[in-house]
């Protein structure tokens, strides 16, 4: 695994460990805060005898306290499920809901194995003091990595109920079935509920979750495989659900943080006197950090403006987006690797090479980063925030304030979207710093401009590909180099005798991190555009050319399905059809798309029709899966056609939905989505992979419409 290895004096959290089950890495770049105790507060803590808690060895241990990307899971049944004596079953999961729909799936998973209606399962709030550390909500991991352990725990409880009933009635386990939340004697009339079991002295849930418990076969599913809507849907449509930015605490005030006018600028002088004199305003100042709180957001904004006027900044030269790709190539670690297949280059009938460029993109979730922080004394901190990494944010907070992890509680209400953009806890740390200064709970919500500028970006990519064809039009060698953006979907799924695909880190000028599908959006774009170029060089139809190089039956199936439903074979024969296709595989999801585009009088691309096939094993929630696939396609239209972060002299020029136009109703094409339900295969996640085909399919359609290859994303016809 290659990942940036920026050393930061040991303060950077451990990077996700390579796990054999997953070929995955999350680019993570938390902001580094250290609001360590000043002498005075240190003495205070010393006075309360808490020094031991923050002593160096304890701190070192706590720094690695989080379970990392995969988490640790539930230590026993009780940590996963609470069986109430009133019949209410509470499910505890450390994965968060940001619109991907996994919380409905968790409910289904528990209900299925317990044999209870979904309405009997209550999903506890994500609260680090309550739920198990199930790792980050990332990498399409909730379905393949969190649903199975939930099912195991629930099935274990079901078996305990059967054992209990068997003992009570003096019958064999075979004579008992569980239905509608009750153990029922097959041959008799006796039955026992979970509530009755929970009341008994034999109910012991403090035992480990057995790994060998039998899970319900897909063909027997009654709750899984159905389209259960989100447990809190009603609270969403009534406005009652409190997102992190809606949380209100007694005495709470509102915060604002001073931002530099450009990337890399350092604050050299500031005068906070005028702000301090304002009614109800508190100023928090640490090295490199200035923030204010006030009784209203508006008053906080005024106070911050007064401070900003006095701020002096020292700027440093910064790379601009115009020179970005040259810069990334120049700074490729160890240089851009050479094609190792010189022999193939020498004997090839044709050598094809191309360079692709993928711009920085911003997730711009509709709810910007938000947190409410509340201290109890100096040593207990609670933060409500929207993050994909609740236990990681707890670690960030503990580290920033020199606390033990147990002193920090992070609560994550269902929040307003993330798309890989909320892995870090900067807003939580800032809110906590402001709350420390104010001596009151503080609500801090980033502005849209802050979110566009100071959240991390989807990495930009410079991709170089070189391949050889023999006289029959077969691809004989393949060399693929991704500079800067990562290794998701890096390997080609095509059968090529000699192939090497490499990811080379660079020195990114902007703070970058995960995005829906990570680098798969860039890698699949370049690869699938290039496959079209190779098909053209071989004089072959793009569909036939791909199939000729594909053995993977699942990938072939989605490609053939999409092509058939789109009537590719018929349409490609027509004169000048503006159609294109692409396919790809990532994180256990298989996807293929065919698109039709048109160009308006100003040569702007409009996508008229998208026909996409997607397969990710057994479908857990068909309606939710459809939303994920449709949403990913439409979201993908943004970076495919328009979304691009532009910056010059360290200033972000795309800080608004005006300059960074995301997809809207008018962009929605005719959508034709085909979900293939492979009930014979384990369920994979679907939050990311459905996004990776739209951009290359569009670029390939542009070629058929104009005869020109566009090798940049966004795809534009000049």
């Amino acid at each position: 695994m290659k990942i940036q290895s920026i050393e930061d004096g040991g303060r950077r959290p451990p990077l996700p460990e390579k796990n054999n089950e997953i070929d995955y890495n999350e680019l993570l770049e938390p902001a580094h805060f250290d609001f360590g105790l000043n002498r005075r507060s240190f003495a205070k803590i010393l006075g309360t005898g808490l020094l031991l808690v923050i002593s160096a060895p304890a701190l070192a241990q706590q720094r690695h306290g989080g379970g990392g990307f995969l988490g640790r899971g539930a230590r026993n049944i009780a940590a996963r499920l609470h069986i109430g004596t009133d019949g209410v079953i509470t499910l505890m999961v450390g994965k968060v809901e940001a619109g991907q729909g996994s919380r409905a799936e968790f409910t289904q998973a528990a209900a299925e194995e317990l044999r209870v209606p979904a309405s009997q399962v209550v999903l506890a709030a994500v609260d680090t003091s309550l739920v198990p550390d199930d790792g980050m909500t990332a990498g399409s991991g909730s379905t393949p990595r969190t649903v199975p352990p939930i099912r195991q725990a629930a099935a274990a409880v079901r078996e305990l109920l059967v054992n209990f009933a068997a003992k009570q009635w003096g019958v064999g386990r075979d004579g008992i079935t569980v239905k509608e939340g009750r153990a029922i004697e097959v041959a008799g009339k006796r039955s026992l509920s979970y509530a009755e079991f929970a009341k008994s002295e034999e109910a012991d849930f403090a035992q480990a979750i057995p790994g060998d418990v039998t899970l319900t076969a897909v063909k027997e599913w009654k709750v899984m495989g159905t389209s259960l809507i989100r447990p809190n849907a009603r609270r969403v449509v009534t406005g009652e659900h409190q997102y992190p930015s809606d949380i209100s605490r007694p005495g709470m005030v509102y915060g604002k943080v001073l931002r530099s006018p450009s990337y890399g600028a350092k604050l050299t002088a500031v005068n906070v006197a005028a702000a301090k004199a304002m009614k109800g305003v508190t100023v928090a100042q640490s090295e490199g950090f200035v923030g204010v709180t006030a009784p209203t957001s508006f008053a906080a904004e005024s106070a911050l403006e007064a401070i900003a006027k006095t701020a002096k900044w020292e700027t440093a030269p910064q790379t601009s987006s115009k020179e970005l790709f040259d810069y990334l190539k120049r700074h490729a670690e160890g240089g851009v690797p050479l094609n190792p297949f010189a022999d193939e280059l020498a004997k090839a009938a044709k050598v094809v090479r191309a360079s692709y460029e993928v711009a920085y993109a911003q997730h711009s979730p509709l709810e910007p980063r938000a947190a409410v922080a509340e201290w109890t004394g100096n040593d207990a901190l609670t933060v409500w925030t929207g993050t994909q990494n609740p236990f990681g944010v707890r670690t960030e907070l503990a580290r920033a304030f020199h606390l033990a992890e147990e002193q920090v509680r992070v609560v994550v209400p269902d929040f307003g979207a993330a798309f890989g953009g909320k892995h870090t806890g900067e807003v939580a740390v800032e809110a906590a710093r402001l709350a420390q200064a104010a001596g009151k709970p503080v609500s801090l919500r980033w502005t849209r401009e802050e979110e566009f500028t100071w959240a991390y970006f989807r990495p930009a990519a410079a991709i170089e590909i070189e391949a050889t064809l023999d006289a029959k039009g077969n691809v004989t060698s393949w060399h693929f180099v991704n500079i800067n953006s990562g290794n998701s979907a890096l390997e080609t799924p095509y059968e090529i005798a000699k192939h090497r695909s490499q990811y080379v880190p660079s020195q990114p000028p902007l703070r970058h991190g995960s995005y829906r599908g990570l680098a798969a959006t860039a890698n699949n774009f370049a690869r699938e555009c290039f496959m079209d170029e190779l098909a053209a060089a071989a004089g072959a139809d793009p569909l036939e050319f791909r199939l000729a190089h594909l053995e993977n039956s699942r990938l072939r199936a989605v490609l053939e399905t999409a092509a058939e439903k789109f009537k590719w074979k018929e349409r490609i024969k027509l004169a000048g059809p503006a159609i294109g296709l692409s396919c790809g595989v990532e994180k256990g999801g298989y996807v293929a798309a065919c698109v039709e585009i048109e160009l308006d009088s100003k040569n702007r691309i409009r996508v008229k029709h998208v026909c996409q096939a997607f397969e990710c094993g057994a479908i857990v929630n068909p309606d939710n899966l459809m939303k994920q696939v449709q949403g990913a396609i439409i979201m993908g239209l943004g970076p495919a056609l328009r979304e691009e972060v532009r910056f010059e002299n360290g200033e972000n020029q795309t800080v608004s939905f005006r300059s960074y136009p995301v997809p809207r109703y008018e962009d929605v094409p005719e959508l034709d989505v085909h979900l293939i339900n492979r009930t014979d295969l384990p369920s994979a996640g679907a939050g990311e992979t459905p996004i990776i085909c739209i951009a290359p399919a569009i670029a390939n359609a542009v070629f058929r419409a104009t005869g020109k290859r566009v090798r940049t994303m966004p795809v534009r016809v000049a």
Partner: protein, 159 residues
């Protein structure tokens, strides 16, 4: 200078004494604790903050509280009648239209205004009126279906 502003919110008369330049959105959320209306951009570009003023859809983030004096505001919290959801709320819920749901309140309020003017909207009408509402999860196809469902339910209830 603070000003005293009296207006109705969800049928109830409210009086606030505050800086008249503050956005209506902030006053709803911070002073009246009606947090169903969301901040998305602060410049009227995403319409997460949509409320109705005298029945018209407005962006509460670019409407100052001073402009709301003596006006009638309806927010997402004022839509349901007791336990009975408004037909638009019901349609959005039944259709499972949203993903993260952060834009939903604005989307629902925009739909209420749309259906008042155009009780039987075509897809083109929906694009024309709803295009200013951003959904970053891009649940637009489901939202469109929910809007049609809401129109149908509203017609049925009126009949």
């Amino acid at each position: 200078m603070d000003a005293t502003i009296t207006f109705t919110v969800n049928g109830k008369s409210r009086t606030v004494t505050t800086d008249p330049q503050r956005p209506l959105l902030d006053v709803l959320r911070e002073d009246l604790h009606l947090t169903g209306t969301k901040y998305g951009c602060g410049e009227g570009q995403c319409r997460a903050c949509t409320v109705l003023m005298n029945g018209e859809s407005i962006a509460s983030c670019i409407t100052t509280i001073g402009d709301v004096d003596k006006q009638a505001i309806l927010t997402i919290e004022g839509l349901a009648k007791g336990d009975t959801l408004h037909p638009v709320q019901r349609a959005f819920m039944e259709e499972g239209a949203f993903q993260c749901g952060y834009c939903t309140a604005g989307m629902i309020m925009g739909t209420v205004a749309l259906l008042k003017e155009t009780p039987n909207p075509t897809d083109a009408d929906i694009v024309a009126r709803m295009n200013r509402h951003i959904c970053r999860c891009c649940s637009y196809p489901k939202y469109r279906a929910a809007i049609h469902r809401a129109a149908e339910q509203t017609r049925k209830e009126a009949a």
